[in-house]
Structures are given as structure tokens and as C-alpha cells.
């Protein structure tokens, strides 16, 4: 009977295990294998160890893209998450119909495909028929070009802000709703202001959710691909190695350098892993204090 139970348990989990094996584990092993090989005219595929990785970390194109997504993350995440947090704290206190409508509308971009969001913002930014340039012109900024290579990364930040601020707000708002209201009542009785409640009680209480939104935004930013890829039609900013993911894509599918592409992808994954765990560890240490 006991053995039968175990067997049935395995049967239920089997389809999941198969999917994980064939579409996650196997491709990753294969990519790992590819990244350890090199293709030469004479010898065909042969083992080169970590040579591809050494090349990657010396490759100016990879490093340039990495620097760009790092700056992109450092600039966009704090701005976006501050607005998400402020909005979440606001709609947690103000429970009017307006606040409910705001909550719904702000979350709505989550249902818009990244491709469509990029296309829409491409039009909105356009000098030919976009409202942003129209307003800028009225205000006297005749030279504003959202596709200028120097500011294009900030234009992308603008798209990400529109797409993800509401989502993060909802995550933080859900966490705020989980706090017991009795704590606030006690604080109010003690004469605490709303501002003090927000900073001394609410924000520390949802620390876990905040850390999670930072982490997910960080991972997402480092893997930037869709927006620059779509909008590369408008601008000459998007170079071969504009972001590490775009670089890996171009290496594999435009230049057929599958081995090197696999190494670039793995290198990016490794960097994201180190940053994420570093961030989590540091955070845990700070929380322990």
C-alpha cells in the first residue's frame, strides 16, 4: 500500500518532471556543452574549456552592453519603485472609488504585450506623429529626439516605467493589505501621524515584498531585449551589442556563432545570479541587525 502511494505520487508529478527535463534541464546542459566548444574549419567542433568565457569577459561589445544595462537598472529601478511604493501607500490609506479606478488602470499595462507596448511608445515618441514631440515643440524644445543614441536608453526606461510601475504597486499594495489594522490603531492612539505610520510601521512590515520587487526588476532589466529590438528600426542607437541579450541573439541567429553566443548568455546569467544572491545576502544581514 505504502509503495503504491509513492508510485502514484510519482505518476502525478511525472508530466511536470518530463517538461522540466526536456525544456529546461536539457537545453541548459546543451548550452553549457556548446559554450565549451569551438568551431574551426580544420578540426570541426572541439573542446576549448573556458576559453569562450575568457573571451566574453574581455569582449568590449559584451562589456559595453553590460555597462549599459547596469546603468539602465540603476537609474530606472529606484525611480519606478519609489513611485510604486508611494502609490501603494496612498491607495492603502485612501479607499475611495477614485483610488480603486487608479489601482485598476495603473495595473492595466501588465496585460499589454511587451511588443505592443514598445510599438505604441515608438509611435508616441515619434517626431512625425507623436504627442510628446508635439508638446515639446510647443514648449520650445525643437530638437528633442527620443531616438537619439545618447538618450535612447532613457526612452526605454520610460516604456518600462509605464509597463511595470502599476504591477509593482499592486504587489506592494497586496503586501500592505496583509498587515493587521490593529497595529495602526494602537499607533494612532499613541499620537503617530500618517507619515510616521508609513515610515515606521508599514515600510518595515513589507520589507520582504519590497526586496522581491527590487530583485525581479533587477533581473528583468539586465535581460533587456524586446524594446530595443523592436525600436531599432527608428534609431541607429541599437548596436550589435546594445544589451548582452541582444548581443547573444545576434551572435547566434545572425552570425551563427552558437558556441560563443551560449558563453555570452551563460556569462550574463552568472552575473545576474551573483548580483541577486549578493543582494539577498546583504539584505538578510541588514535585516538581522
Amino acid at each position: 500500500m505504502k509503495r503504491r502511494q509513492v508510485l502514484i505520487g510519482w505518476l502525478f508529478v511525472l508530466p511536470f518532471v518530463l517538461v522540466v527535463f526536456f525544456f529546461l534541464v536539457l537545453p541548459l546542459i546543451y548550452a553549457g556543452y556548446l559554450s565549451s566548444q569551438a568551431d574551426s574549419l580544420v578540426g570541426g567542433q572541439h573542446f576549448v574549456g573556458i576559453t569562450n568565457y575568457i573571451d566574453t569577459f574581455k569582449d568590449p561589445l559584451f562589456l559595453e552592453g553590460l555597462k549599459r544595462v547596469a546603468i539602465y537598472a540603476l537609474i530606472s529601478i529606484p525611480i519606478m519603485l519609489s513611485v510604486s511604493l508611494a502609490s501603494a501607500l496612498t491607495i492603502d490609506v485612501i479607499q475611495t472609488r477614485l483610488a480603486r479606478v487608479f489601482r485598476l488602470i495603473a495595473f492595466m499595462p501588465y496585460a499589454v504585450p511587451g511588443v505592443v507596448a514598445a510599438l505604441m511608445w515608438g509611435f508616441l515618441y515619434s517626431q512625425q506623429f507623436g504627442p510628446i514631440y508635439w508638446f515639446a515643440k510647443k514648449l520650445g524644445f525643437r530638437n528633442l529626439d527620443m531616438f537619439d543614441p545618447n538618450i535612447f536608453i532613457y526612452s526605454i526606461s520610460g516604456i518600462a516605467f509605464w509597463a511595470w510601475t502599476g504591477y509593482n504597486m499592486i504587489v506592494l499594495y497586496s503586501a500592505l493589505q496583509g498587515i493587521s489594522r490593529e497595529i495602526y490603531e494602537a499607533a494612532i492612539v499613541d499620537g503617530a501621524s500618517q507619515k510616521q505610520i508609513a515610515f515606521r510601521i508599514k515600510i518595515p512590515a513589507i520589507r520582504g515584498a519590497i526586496v522581491l520587487t527590487i530583485l525581479f526588476s533587477l533581473i528583468g532589466s539586465m535581460q533587456l531585449f524586446t524594446e530595443p529590438r523592436i525600436l531599432s528600426r527608428y534609431t541607429n542607437a541599437v548596436t550589435l551589442g546594445y544589451t548582452p541579450n541582444i548581443y547573444a541573439f545576434n551572435l547566434a541567429f545572425n552570425q551563427s556563432q552558437f558556441n560563443y553566443s551560449a558563453a555570452v548568455s551563460f556569462a550574463l546569467g552568472l552575473i545576474v545570479l551573483v548580483i541577486s544572491y549578493g543582494f539577498l545576502l546583504r539584505n538578510r544581514r541588514m535585516a538581522d541587525k
Binding site: 502511494q5 505520487g9 508529478v13 508530466p15 541548459l28 479607499q95 475611495t96 489594522r181
Partner: protein, 297 residues
């Protein structure tokens, strides 16, 4: 962690005590609503415009003529009705991957919650690990593997990898632990119900809210997917709408910026997001259910 009743609020009684209304907050929220709506309003207005109006009239108001129906007509007839095929493909790919992913995660989540297993820690680290893997690291080797077995450029190349959704299995496991009592399963066993019958007739119906949430999230994930179909498909009759629209957009920008395809891309974008936004407005609480679980994790 309440996935059961995402709409539940704590104590409405103290509302008046805790809600000082402030004019600044209201103004900011109205501004925010306008900001988040703006791209959609723009798309709606732009899809009513003729080609010359698109380039010459103010973009946040109607043009000289109302051409929505003409635009819709050309959208659905361009290239022999290609857009409709893309919508159909998107629906087939996303519904079959979402159904498959939901069933697979329901079975796995149930098994991990109610049978004795050691795989839970592994599952959790996989959920986190999966979002760290760069898309190219997974899709490029999959492409090479699929090419060897002639699956590239078929619907399977898009559907099969989308069945992978460890987060869904995790969410269902939590839901089973919270809301399906062990005693109920034991009682059914004593009544000599078979394990698969228990799952199909008792567990699945009780899991309904969690299943809807998982289904919605998987549906949107594959509806919005771009990278995987972009790599896997080369026949434009197999494209989903995301890849198709970007192909038209690329063509439009090559034809010197005055192409009629701009109108099609804009109208096509509108038609592509409408079903999702409508489902989103009506099924809100299921969306929030998934996010609650994600936030507490």
C-alpha cells in the same frame, strides 16, 4: 497568504478613522490615470484616422475623417487575411499551452502537497532560478535541439516549451495545503475511490479558483511571448500576432515612413490588446490572487 479570497479586506469599520482625504493625492491619481491611459487612448484615436491624418493632425484628438472601419477592413484583408491567421495562431498557441501548463502544474502541485516528497525545496529554487536564466540561454539551445528533430517552424516549437511553469506548480501546492484537508482525501480512499478519480472528481473542482488564476497567468505569458516564436518560426502563416506586428512594423519603416502599413500596425495593436484588457477588467480578482501569492512568497 490568502489566495482563497483575494478581495477580502481587513476591517472596514475603521475606514473613517484611517482615511484623511487629501486633495494632492486625488490630483496625482487623476494625473496617473491619464498617464497610464494615454498610450491606449492614442492607439484608439490613431486607429480611426486616415493615413494623411495620422501624420498631419494632432495625435491626441480625432482626425478630419473617421476611418476606423476602413482601417479594420484593410487590417483583416491585408496579405490575404494574414492578421486573422495571426490572431487564430495566437489563440491556439496560448490556449493550448495554458491548458497544458495548468493541468501539469495542478497534478504536480497536488502531488507535492499530499504525497510524501522531497522535491519542494528544489521546486522553489527552480522558480527563482528560472527567471534568472537569460532568454537566449534557453531558447537558442532549444532551437538547435528542435532543428535536429524537425520541430522548428511548427506550432509545437512554441507550445511545448510554454508548458514549463514551475511558479504555477508552486502556487497550486500552496493552495492544496491551505484548502484541501488531508482527511477528505483519506475518506475518499476509505470509500475505495481510485487515486485518479479522487484527483479528477474531488481535487480539481476544489482547486477551481487557483486553476483560473494559473490559467490566466499562463495565457497572458504565452499571448505576450515574443522571443520564443520570433526564434522558432520562419513561416509568416505560423506567426502569432506579436511577431506578425513587428514584421509589418519592420516593413513599414523600410518603406520610407509613409507606408499604409503604419495604419495597419496601429489598428492591429489595438485589436491585439483588446481581448486581454477586457478579460483583465472582468477577471480582476483572479489576477490579484496570483499576485498575492507571489508577493508573500
Amino acid at each position: 497568504m490568502s489566495i482563497k479570497s483575494p478581495m477580502k479586506r481587513s476591517s472596514h469599520g475603521q475606514k473613517s478613522l484611517l482615511t484623511p482625504r487629501s486633495k494632492t493625492a486625488n490630483t496625482l491619481m487623476i494625473f496617473g490615470i491619464g498617464y497610464f491611459m494615454m498610450p491606449l487612448i492614442w492607439v484608439i484615436l490613431a486607429s480611426t484616422k486616415s493615413k494623411p491624418d495620422l501624420f498631419s493632425t494632432f495625435s491626441l484628438w480625432f482626425g478630419h475623417s473617421f476611418k476606423l472601419f476602413d482601417n479594420l477592413h484593410s487590417l483583416f484583408t491585408q496579405d490575404g487575411g494574414l492578421y486573422l491567421i495571426w490572431i487564430k495562431n495566437t489563440a491556439i498557441y496560448s490556449i493550448s499551452s495554458a491548458l497544458g501548463a495548468t493541468l501539469i502544474s495542478a497534478m504536480a502541485g497536488y502531488s507535492l502537497a499530499r504525497f510524501k516528497f522531497k522535491g519542494v525545496v528544489f521546486l522553489e529554487s527552480m522558480v527563482l532560478g528560472l527567471i534568472m536564466v537569460p532568454a537566449t540561454a534557453l531558447v537558442m539551445p532549444l532551437y538547435l535541439m528542435f532543428a535536429k528533430v524537425n520541430v522548428v517552424n511548427t506550432p509545437w516549437a512554441v507550445i511545448l516549451p510554454s508548458l514549463l511553469n514551475p511558479f504555477a506548480a508552486f502556487l497550486i501546492r500552496v493552495y492544496v495545503l491551505e484548502s484541501i484537508p488531508e482527511e477528505l482525501i483519506q475518506a475518499a480512499r476509505i470509500d475505495r475511490a481510485g487515486e485518479f478519480r479522487i484527483f479528477w472528481q474531488i481535487v480539481l473542482p476544489m482547486l477551481r479558483p487557483a486553476l483560473v488564476t494559473v490559467f490566466l497567468f499562463s495565457l497572458v505569458a504565452s499571448w505576450n511571448n515574443f522571443f520564443l516564436p520570433l526564434v522558432m518560426l520562419s513561416d509568416n502563416h505560423l506567426y502569432p500576432v506579436t511577431v506578425g506586428l513587428q514584421a509589418w512594423f519592420a516593413q513599414a519603416s523600410q518603406e520610407s515612413g509613409n507606408s499604409v502599413l503604419y495604419n495597419l500596425v496601429i489598428t492591429g495593436a489595438l485589436v491585439a490588446v483588446l481581448p486581454l484588457i477586457i478579460s483583465f477588467l472582468f477577471l480582476q480578482r483572479y489576477w490579484r490572487g496570483g499576485i498575492n501569492a507571489g508577493a508573500v512568497k
